[in-house]
């Protein structure tokens, strides 16, 4: 982490870059928009009082359009985050979590923390093992929903990007055993994401309430604050210029 300033007994630095925060919130908003529009597409629950037999106001098409717009926004965010994890310089703190993820002792200690038995263990990277595996699964679900989504998209929009993806979409269709199964899995991946997001929000609130280090603020401001118990303010200042 790059330390920037000292306030009282805390030293602050950038935990989340601007790009990271943007992708997080674009992803978050897209997920909620996609869930709402997705439920409508699966079973169109609202309609308007028909005044004419001829279709004139294209409600379903409009909702589908928003679903696609947010879908591509989410794809962009997920791709950005994937590249961030594997290749970005700032991604090294995330990559360090891989070692922790296979540390069984650490994992048990983490479970112990949630069971209110022992203290929060110290991790090398920024994610604890449980968190790391939960996010790994989340990305499996993300890529599952993206791939099935593109396969469904290419069958509706045959030109342009749809045409580009068409051969790929067809192989996805074969893999799942038909477009109906692609649709079913798209729906199942959505539910998996809903549950991970639900638990994620709880854990974020939990850490904000009990962590008391302003950790939740980082996803808005990018700043993370760490307490330095033993060091003096002067030593911390040195750390800044280091």
């Amino acid at each position: 982490m790059k330390f920037l300033k000292v306030v009282g007994k805390y030293i602050g630095g950038i935990e989340f870059s601007a790009g990271y925060r943007w992708q997080h919130w674009i992803r978050a908003i897209s997920i909620f928009a996609l869930i709402a529009t997705g439920f409508y597409i699966a079973n169109p629950f609202i309609t308007y009082q028909n005044t004419a037999v001829e279709p004139t106001r294209f409600l379903h098409a409009e909702i589908r359009e928003w679903h696609i717009i947010f879908g591509f926004a989410m794809i962009a965010a997920v791709l950005y985050k994937t590249f961030y994890f594997f290749f970005f310089k700032e991604g090294k703190y995330e990559r360090e979590s891989i070692k922790d993820a296979f540390n069984v002792k650490l994992m048990i200690e983490q479970v112990g923390y949630y069971l209110l038995i022992n203290k929060h263990p110290h991790t090398k990277g920024i994610y604890n093992p449980l968190q790391f595996w939960a996010y790994t699964m989340l990305y499996v679900f993300f890529y599952g929903i993206i791939i099935t989504g593109i396969a469904l998209y290419a069958e509706v929009y045959h030109e342009g990007l749809g045409a580009f993806f068409y051969p790929f979409a067809k192989s996805i269709e074969s893999f799942f055993g038909g477009l109906a199964y692609v649709r079913l899995w798209h729906h199942i991946f959505m539910w998996a994401i809903i549950i991970v997001v639900f638990v994620h929000i709880y854990m974020a609130v939990y850490n904000a309430v009990f962590g008391k280090n302003g950790g939740m603020d980082a996803i808005f401001s990018g700043m993370k604050w760490e307490k330095f118990e033993d060091a003096t303010k002067e030593e911390a200042q040195k750390l800044l210029h280091h």
Binding site: A42, N43, P44, I46, T47, Y48, N50, V53, E54, P55, T56, R57, F58, L59, H60, A61, I63, R64, Y113, Y114, L116, I117, N118, K119, H120, E155, K170, S171, E173, S174, G177, G178, L179, A180, Y181, V182, R183, L184, H187, I188, M190, W191, I194, I195, F198, V199, Y202, Y206, F210
Partner: protein, 377 residues
């Protein structure tokens, strides 16, 4: 390019013309006897050319191909099926041109349509296999049971299994066409739990098989595939499930007459309501058109008269693999697909909500506990 294509076809037709016809009369004579004028025949040819994606200028070539089609006899094998596909081909108010050409003349063996029965029928079959070896088009209707050596389907007095008969016949065929969903993908007998181990014929053969699925497929798709083979001497371009692209390239949904209502969000809520009267979209009463590749919305059935969606019932996705399982329930949207569960009626949303509730209860309990007994710092 058009010129070159036409020349290839004419060359192929000339080659076929040199072969002896299988019937006593030529196709031209039979059509005339049944009251079809040359004009009717050309109109039919033009329609078929369109179905195959050829320009109208190819109508005369298609007509010539149909005239020499008696050089390539059709042997029709029935396996595990209901004969609905044969019905689709022959069910019409009067003998159609398709009918005359493919049932009265070219069909060398078809055990429901032929006059012979028993030993005589068996003999005809062997005769046809021998006489037209390497020349006939094998149309297979029905899936092939494979469990326990295929003994769930035996044919004739020798109790030969369908599996053996199929393999033996396929070896001698010039081209193999799987007519209907059963022979293409296994169909109803391959639906869960598939006690006979039925599969589509392509699974047990090592020759290319063209799938013409549908329950039943329209006569146009069956005849179109056969004529394609006659015209080109090769099997048509196929999609990822080996279905001819000229017929199965687009979804039912893409060319549906009710599509406008789908995009407008105007749906039939239940059969017989005002929406149904106004011809609204059938998606909410279970139409599976968005997941089904076929040309019903363009070609329709029974001489272009009507098709399920026009008649007011949604598509059930009958030309898709595994459709009896994949598309159920047939009169509800796919979101209501039932998954295996304790009460066997869990839809994705129900399972999801249950899991979400469990997570919610666990979270509430954990939060309450943590509030009483703070986590260790």
């Amino acid at each position: 390019m058009k010129e070159a294509l036409m020349n290839t076809m004419r060359k192929r037709i000339e080659e076929l013309r040199a072969l002896p016809g299988v019937g006593e009369k030529s196709i031209k004579e039979v059509l005339e006897e049944n009251g079809f004028t040359r004009r009717d025949f050309l109109k039919w040819s033009a329609a078929l050319a369109m179905t195959l994606g050829l320009p109208a200028s190819f109508a005369p070539v298609v007509a010539e191909a149909a005239e020499v089609s008696d050089r390539l006899p059709v042997v029709w094998l029935h396996l595990a099926e209901c004969t609905g596909c044969s019905e689709s081909l022959i069910r019409s108010d009067a003998p159609t041109i398709d009918d005359l050409i493919f049932n009265y003349i070219n069909l060398q063996y078809h055990d429901t349509l032929m006059a012979a029965a028993g030993w005589q029928a068996e003999e005809n079959y062997e005769e046809a296999l021998k006489k037209f070896a390497g020349r006939f088009i094998l149309c297979v209707e029905g899936g092939v049971p494979t469990k326990d050596g295929g003994e769930y389907l035996t044919i004739g007095a020798h109790a030969e299994t369908g599996l053996e008969k199929l393999k033996r016949s396929a070896d001698k065929a010039a081209a193999i066409i799987a007519v209907g969903t059963c022979s293409s993908f296994g169909g109803v007998q391959a639906a869960y739990p598939n006690p006979t181990g039925t599969v589509g014929i392509s699974k047990v053969l090592n020759k290319p098989v063209i799938n013409v699925p549908g329950c039943p497929p329209s006569a146009k798709n069956i005849v179109g595939t056969i004529v394609y083979y006659i015209l080109f001497g090769a099997l048509p371009a196929v999609d990822n499930f080996n279905r001819p692209k000229f017929a199965y390239g687009l979804r039912i949904h893409d060319l549906c007459e009710r599509r406008g209502h789908f995009d407008a969000g105007e749906f039939v809520e239940q059969f017989g309501d005002t929406g149904a009267e106004n011809g609204f979209c059938l998606y909410k009463v279970g139409c599976k058109g968005p997941y089904t590749f076929n040309n019903c919305s363009r070609e329709r059935f029974n001489q272009h008269t009507s098709w399920p969606v026009q008649a007011g019932h949604g598509c059930i996705g009958c030309s898709e693999p595994d459709f009896w399982d994949a598309m159920a329930p047939y009169e509800e949207p796919l979101a209501n697909h039932k998954f295996m569960s304790v009460n066997a009626d869990a839809v994705a949303d129900k399972v999801g909500l249950t899991l979400l509730t469990v997570a919610g209860v666990a979270i509430a309990a954990h939060a309450a506990l943590s509030a009483i007994k703070n986590p260790k710092e």
